[in-house]
């Protein structure tokens, strides 16, 4: 393990501990680490399998006949319906559909979308970029904002600034994200009253715009409102966690020591309190990263952002079984993988849990 880097990140806890590797329990520690890793991996794999099975059976109960939905509005003969059923494998018994689905998943073959008549994998590949862009930017901004504001609030706890920051965060947290999005559209995009429409109401790009820089700027322009909505609703939890974990560290002896050395307040905060307080927050960011994927559905729906969320929502209506199944598995596995990463990263960051 990259022990030296870890030791530098969290200095104060084991100052007198013998050097890494010198401990008598060396080999058993390695065994423990392996055991830990193995356990986590196994859990993740079991969860993944469970998600795949759930996904298949959950959506089979959806009301509506997919074949009917596919031919909506057109006169079709019984023979044509049968042909479609055969084509999509819907005439086979359920268990056979299930095995086909499982084998397909192993090969990253999610079947063909009923709605768009193209392989689901292709659809996902096309839509995943915008979602990752939106979710990634939103998470990054929210995490930074939460960390900075949370630290400041904790450092000056009880002050008017602290109370105001916490109050604003809690209020924004209680607001439904889709409503905030709609409100932003009304105020900043539709051009209500004297305000001109500053931002586009929906979509990700303007059709005519070409050229590297111009189109990047165009996408960024379209992203402002969705990202703002996401950040406003999400940053509160980072802020609250960061605030309380900085507060937790405030009473620690090593901070008194740092002050006694004559370090300036800002330095004590930056070099000593923040690195230690970061641990729980970083874990939370990882855990939320997967969850954010699901939350993005709403924001994408409101802003007509061409991502996976709006794809999932449109798929539910048909019901476009292969598409919805694949997206469900994808969303859930994103959370599982992020959880796994958080589990694996945490011991690296915090020597206290490594034993």
């Amino acid at each position: 393990m990259t022990r030296s880097a870890t030791a530098a990140a969290a200095p104060p806890e084991e100052p007198g501990a013998p050097g890494p590797g010198a401990a008598p329990g060396g080999p058993s520690r390695a065994a423990r680490v392996l055991r830990y890793l193995g356990g986590r991996l196994l859990t993740a794999v079991v969860s993944l399998v469970a998600v795949m099975v759930t996904s298949f059976f959950l959506f089979r109960i959806l009301p509506g006949d997919p074949v009917r939905a596919m031919t909506e509005g057109r006169e079709v003969s019984v023979a044509q319906l049968e042909e479609l059923r055969r084509q999509f494998g819907l005439d086979k018994p359920l268990w056979q559909q299930f095995t086909d689905y499982c084998l397909g998943l192993l090969r990253f073959d999610f079947g063909t979308s009923y709605q768009y008549r193209v392989p689901v994998a292709e659809l996902i590949a096309e839509r995943i970029g915008p979602t990752v862009l939106l979710a990634g930017t939103g998470t990054l901004v929210a995490a930074l904002l939460g960390l900075v504001l949370g630290t400041r609030a904790a450092w000056r706890r009880g002050s008017a600034g602290d109370r105001a920051t916490t109050a604003v965060a809690l209020t924004l947290w209680s607001v439904p994200s889709f409503w905030l999005g709609l409100l932003l559209i009304v105020v900043l995009a539709s051009g209500a009253g004297w305000l001109p429409g500053l931002f586009p109401t929906s979509g990700m790009s303007t059709p005519g715009v070409q050229g590297g820089f111009a189109s990047a700027a165009d996408v960024a322009h379209h992203m402002v409102l969705p990202v703002a909505t996401m950040v406003a609703v999400v940053y509160a939890q980072y802020l609250l966690i960061m605030r309380s974990s900085v507060l937790d560290e405030m009473g620690a002896d090593y901070l008194t020591t740092a002050r006694a050395k004559g370090l300036r307040d800002a330095l004590v905060l930056r070099r000593h309190a923040v690195p230690n307080a970061l641990l729980p927050t970083v874990t939370l960011i990882f855990l939320n990263l997967g969850r954010v994927m699901g939350g993005v559905i709403l924001i994408e729906t409101v802003f007509a952002w061409p991502g996976l969320g709006s794809l999932f929502y449109s798929g539910l209506r048909v019901p476009d079984l292969p598409l919805v199944q694949a997206l469900f598995v994808l969303f859930a596995s994103a959370v599982i993988v992020m959880n796994l990463l958080a589990d694996l990263v945490y011991p690296l960051l915090d020597p206290r849990v490594r034993t």
């Binding site: 998600v51 607001v175 439904p176 709609l182 009304v186 109401t201 969850r291 999932f312 919805v324």
Partner: protein
């Protein structure tokens, strides 16, 4: 054995309860945000309960709107009218009934589930607890909004569906918290005493563990109601709610479908959202205040 003048067991119990309650109220009252939340909730609940007294439900039917289409706020309709000429104010007040009911019931379902599973997992260690916690973890991993949307889409459109969808997706967090608390309670000597006196599993869980995890559960419930109300509005907004009832999310969905967003009819969409935010915020504030009361470490820090 006891002195003859000693008060009866029941009286003693009541005196103790009164003292505990007084202490609780005093500590809670120190949290101003918590008081604000409580007052706002009381007002909202009262409004929801009294709504039928001053609103004629016939005027809330799509065909029975008393006003014109999209009337701006005026003396008669304080918050204007919607696409069917119904008073937005009346709709929002009426919507409080469904939104609060769903919020409470969904939170209750998930907290009940979470508490039972948490206590069981904490009380019986070993493999059964392991299995329960694995299941919990697995539910915790599923993206709750996606599952709730899927469940709501799979079942028929009704308020009950929404309650189930929220209840089923929200319980794992409670189970984790309750299990942790159960473990810490079970390590205390009085549990050993109860066991030594012949108390069975059920007795220990019901008479000793449950009362001691109750504070945590209460705080958790309050926080969950806020989440459930936002979730309810989300599902209704996505068109998965019961179309025949009026809820805050449902009003927002209608507003969006009626084009209120692009034509700037703010009075149609601002009030329901504000109502959701206010009620959810109040529950969150109350929950945090309760946590502060029950967990002195948190209180000190404030």
């Amino acid at each position: 054995m006891s002195a003859p003048a000693a008060p009866s067991r029941r009286a003693l119990l009541w005196a103790r309860r009164r003292a505990a309650w007084g202490e609780f109220a005093r500590t809670y009252a120190q949290n101003r945000a918590g008081l604000f939340g409580l007052a706002a909730l009381a007002a909202a609940a009262l409004t929801a309960l009294c709504a039928p007294l001053f609103i004629d439900s016939a005027e809330l039917a799509v065909t029975g709107g008393p006003g014109g289409r999209f009337e701006a706020p005026s003396g008669e309709f304080w918050l204007g009218t919607d696409a069917f000429g119904r008073s937005v104010l009346a709709m929002v007040v009426w919507g409080a009934r469904i939104s609060l009911t769903v919020g409470f019931l969904a939170a209750f379902v998930s907290v009940a589930l979470g508490t039972v599973i948490g206590i069981l997992a904490g009380h019986f260690g070993g493999w059964s607890s392991n299995v329960l916690m694995r299941v919990t973890d697995w539910f915790l991993v599923l993206p709750s909004l996606v599952v709730a949307v899927a469940l709501a889409a799979v079942m028929e459109r009704s308020t009950l569906t929404i309650i189930i969808a929220i209840g089923v997706t929200a319980w794992p967090a409670t189970a984790r918290v309750v299990r942790a608390q159960t473990l810490s309670v079970e390590a205390r000597p009085f549990i050993e005493r109860a066991r030594a006196l012949g108390g069975g599993h059920l007795h220990v869980m019901k008479r000793h563990v449950l009362p001691n995890v109750m504070p945590v559960v209460l705080a958790q419930t309050t926080l969950l109601v806020a989440e459930a109300i936002v979730m309810e509005s989300t599902l209704s907004f996505l068109g998965l709610g019961d179309p025949s009832t009026i809820s805050w999310g449902g009003i927002l969905q209608e507003a969006r479908n009626a084009g209120a967003i692009s034509s700037g009819i703010w009075w149609y969409m601002v009030p329901p959202g504000l109502a959701i935010a206010l009620v959810a915020l109040s529950f969150t504030l109350c929950g945090r205040a309760l946590e502060g009361v029950f967990n002195p470490r948190l209180r000190e820090r404030r």
